[in-house]
């Protein structure tokens, strides 16, 4: 219960910070200043935005399906929030340590799709319906490379339990860990023990997962569902006030969730970045509950920052390019990783 509440609080605060960061990052990338007026460096801007959203009138279009329209943003946000339950935050800190954590997260993310369709249908608006349809087509297609990339990491850990996967990537592991399958580093740990360095082909799997995750959270360059130039704002066009804030919260929550999943599966989860070097026991000093929280959050926030960087650097894909990229590039790559994982597990580990 305490973990659930603190995650909720964290997601809300993180979103406030992330929206501000997004504006500043975009401004720096495009050589602008970004928000400057509200507070020093505009750091009160998102707070002002939230105040505005809370007091805004809650408009339901008269042609909309009232109940679906009102409940849809809640479903979108709750489905994202439920995903955090299976994320291990520190060696002994996890919402529910289930034996099917990875599978659970994959399933829960797919509920979001129903929320999008509900928004699109409930709004009874051409643009919203197009946005929702595009978003669903995109998420459903990109679930395949994402899922297969995840499986190729899971095959090496031999567990669907997120906490066990994390344990197997650091000095707390009970198994022998080898850097690139050659060098025994069970007692050295650090970044050398992360999954992507245990088996080099997981670097490709990580890249596939990260790209697919961008598409699953509807972020540029995969933001055709909310393409401003053609669909105005996409599926959430009819929403105002607090419900719009919920959709926004879900988008940023999704960014954090997919980053956290990537961190747990490929980048060592709550394990430390620093290896033991001789008598300098950096890995042992920086492993623990507090450090675990610090590492997983800083790693995932770094990935979120990369997502923002990509958004403001790359132009938007066309719909057919998007699907072609998914089916012709990412899916075969993910299958190749899966194949190598099987051989790696049998021959190297």
């Amino acid at each position: 219960m305490l973990i659930a509440l603190s995650i909720l609080l964290f997601v809300v605060l993180y979103t406030l910070a992330a929206v501000y960061a997004e504006r500043k990052v975009s401004a720096f990338i495009q050589d602008r200043l970004g928000p400057m007026e509200t507070g020093k460096f505009g750091w009160l801007q998102t707070l002002a935005d939230i105040l505005k959203m809370i007091q805004k009138e809650n408009i339901v279009p008269s042609a909309a399906d009232r109940r679906l329209f009102l409940i849809a943003p809640v479903i979108i946000f709750v489905s994202v929030y439920m995903g955090f339950a299976a994320i291990p935050i520190a060696p002994s800190l996890i919402g529910t340590s289930s034996n099917m954590g990875v599978f659970y997260i994959l399933a829960i993310i797919s509920i979001e799709v129903v929320g999008f369709l509900m928004v699109g249908w409930g709004s009874n608006n051409k643009y919203a319906l197009y946005g929702a349809t595009r978003s669903v087509a995109q998420i459903v297609s990109y679930e395949i490379p994402a899922g297969i990339a995840i499986i190729s990491a899971v095959m090496l850990s031999q567990s669907l339990n997120m906490n066990e996967i994390s344990v197997n990537q650091g000095i707390l592991s009970n198994e022998t860990i080898k850097f690139f399958g050659i060098w025994d580093i069970t007692h050295i740990g650090g970044f050398l023990a992360w999954n992507i360095f245990q088996a080099p082909h997981l670097l490709i799997a990580f890249a596939v997962y990260f790209i697919a995750a961008l598409a699953e959270s509807n972020r540029a360059p995969f933001d055709v569902p909310e393409a401003e130039s053609e669909l105005i704002a996409g599926f959430h066009i009819e929403y105002t006030g607090i419900r719009f804030a919920l959709v926004f919260l879900a988008e940023y929550g999704m960014m954090l969730l997919v980053s956290m999943v990537a961190v747990v599966l490929f980048l060592g989860g709550w394990n430390t970045l620093l290896p033991n070097i001789g008598s300098l026991q950096l890995a042992i000093w920086t492993t623990g509950t507090f450090w675990g929280v610090f590492w997983i959050i800083s790693k995932s926030l770094f990935l979120v920052l990369i997502q923002m960087w990509i958004r403001w650097t790359l132009p938007r894909f066309r719909v057919d390019q998007l699907m072609g990229f998914c089916w012709k590039v990412l899916t075969p790559l993910a299958f190749a990783c899966l194949f190598i994982s099987g051989i790696w597990r049998l021959l190297v580990m």
């Binding site: 399906d65 289930s98 099917m100 599978f103 399933a107 129903v114 369709l117 699109g120």
Partner: protein, 182 residues
């Protein structure tokens, strides 16, 4: 606490399933069907079938419901309006529905009779399992057990299912192909 959760899930499942049958707005019915399937997944968890529960969410919620919604969205709205427009002379019961009414009543009574006859609390195999301590506690690594079982004892049905699915896939691709004009 657990019992309350179970009853809440059960009541939502039954009520939403009824709403799906009665509701004349097709899109809304599918969204309520989503609630039915989701609560059903919750009930699976109570039966220690957590793997089935998550598969239920993955396949039915993420797949079937979305497919149904796409079907509705891609079809013409006017085509579905006859459901809403159709007015019954009597709201509750009309004579030409007697057959349907009798059939459903028979099935309902049959099911109730089956539950009462089964005498679930005194089943022999249940008692044997409890006395020999061979029961599921919920802490087993069920994906691993399922994986080992599918690859050993149930390999033939598993392979048969995969061949069947491949055939379905090829059939679907064949149906959806570009047709030659002329």
């Amino acid at each position: 606490m657990l019992k309350t959760a179970f009853y809440i899930l059960a009541v939502i499942t039954v009520l939403s399933a009824m709403y799906v049958v009665v509701c004349k707005n097709l899109a809304r019915a599918v969204f309520v069907f989503f609630a039915t399937l989701f609560c059903l997944a919750g009930i699976y968890v109570f039966a220690f079938a957590d793997f089935v529960a998550i598969t239920q969410i993955m396949v039915y919620v993420g797949g079937i419901v979305v497919l149904m919604l796409f079907g509705i969205m891609l079809s013409n709205r006017q085509l579905l309006n006859f459901l809403v427009d159709e007015k019954n002379e009597t709201r509750f019961f009309s004579l030409n529905k007697t057959g349907a009414f009798l059939l459903s009543a028979t099935v309902f009574i049959g099911l109730i009779r089956m539950i009462t006859m089964a005498n679930v609390a005194n089943l022999k195999w249940l008692k044997d399992a409890v006395s020999s301590q061979q029961y599921y506690t919920g802490f087993e690594n069920s994906p691993q057990i399922i994986g080992v079982q599918t690859m050993t004892n149930y390999l033939l049905p598993f392979e048969a299912a995969s061949v069947y699915l491949l055939a379905v896939l090829i059939g679907a691709a064949y149906l959806a192909r570009k047709k030659k004009i002329g």
